[in-house]
Amino acid sequence: MPSNLHWTDKFRIERFVRSVDGHLGDLPGKVRSGHRGDLRANLTAASADGGSRAAIARMGSPRALALEFLEAEYGHSTRRPSWLMAIAFFFATYLLLDSLLQTGTAAFASGLTTADPQITGDYRWAAIPYLLSHVSMSFADGRPRRHSWGSVDAAHLPDNARRCVPRRPLVASAAPVAPPGDNRLIAAHAGLRGNTLTSRCITVHGDRHAFFCCPS
């Protein structure tokens, strides 16, 4: 839309809008964009009344205004979603898990050398399920030569999750209708879908068939 404002006024308004927006980093992008547009339109309208300087001066501090917008979105609570906190939490978790794995690996090596001070060969620790698949260590005359960590199971989590989510029920002709309240195991139906499933994963709840396919 064309604006009657001089480019310096537009620049001043844009600088103020961006300054407020800089403090709104924890808001969802769509909400931020809405605030930017609304603020720009209101400041443009206000500038037509008495100039952009006065309009911006009436707005007060960009930081205070941003805090008001944050309060409007999240209330007075100090517990707001925050990217900074998310990053801090990620690194703290990483350090904690790393420390846990280092301690576990050291304990494994210590256990082996205690059992046999002259231990030689390759040894494998099952590590921590869902976090680290295994730790392999090589010893020569009781001294660890090298160790390697197996792939992190977290990489496989999406695949595991996909296999564990409820599946669509069998077609009506293939799935027997159980009386309401009957919760039975139907092992036979595992084969109908061609899955390698354990029978405990398939249940019939009343007349609704709930199939939870877990890795066997």
């Binding site: 009657n4 309208a45 007060g60 409007a72």
Partner: protein, 121 residues
């Protein structure tokens, strides 16, 4: 009337005022600022009204739509939703009740000196 008003007092009643103004006429942010100033509330800052509108929108008490403007970017016009009308009715009733009580307390003339404390028994 151009006396200044306590911003905290105004903040408490701002939502009701905004809903009332929007119930009378769909408006965008700066237009509401002007309307409030014209009502005799020049001390209400622009920076108070825009977040208040954002809060009302988040609470689904007002709905917004963008309207193209010939003098700048598209403006966001607000109007009350059914929940907004309910909130307006409740807020109006609460305000009137408060005013009645406060008025009752403030009506007697203020004595020059306070009376001595009442005896315990």
């Amino acid at each position: 009337m151009s006396t200044s008003h306590d911003p905290q007092l105004l903040k408490g009643v701002l939502s009701v005022l905004l809903l009332k103004l929007l119930a009378e006429r769909e408006s965008y942010g700066y237009e509401l600022v002007q309307r409030l100033h014209a009502l005799g509330l020049p001390s209400i800052a622009d920076s108070t009204i825009y977040p208040a509108l954002a809060r009302l929108e988040r609470e689904a008490r007002v709905a917004a739509r963008l309207v193209a403007s010939r003098s700048g970017p598209a403006r966001k016009y607000y109007r009350p939703t059914p929940a907004g009308y309910d909130a307006l009715a409740e807020g109006t009733a609460a305000w009137r009740s408060l005013v009645a009580v406060v008025e009752l307390a403030l009506r007697p003339p203020t004595p020059v000196h306070p009376a001595p404390p009442a005896e315990d028994n």
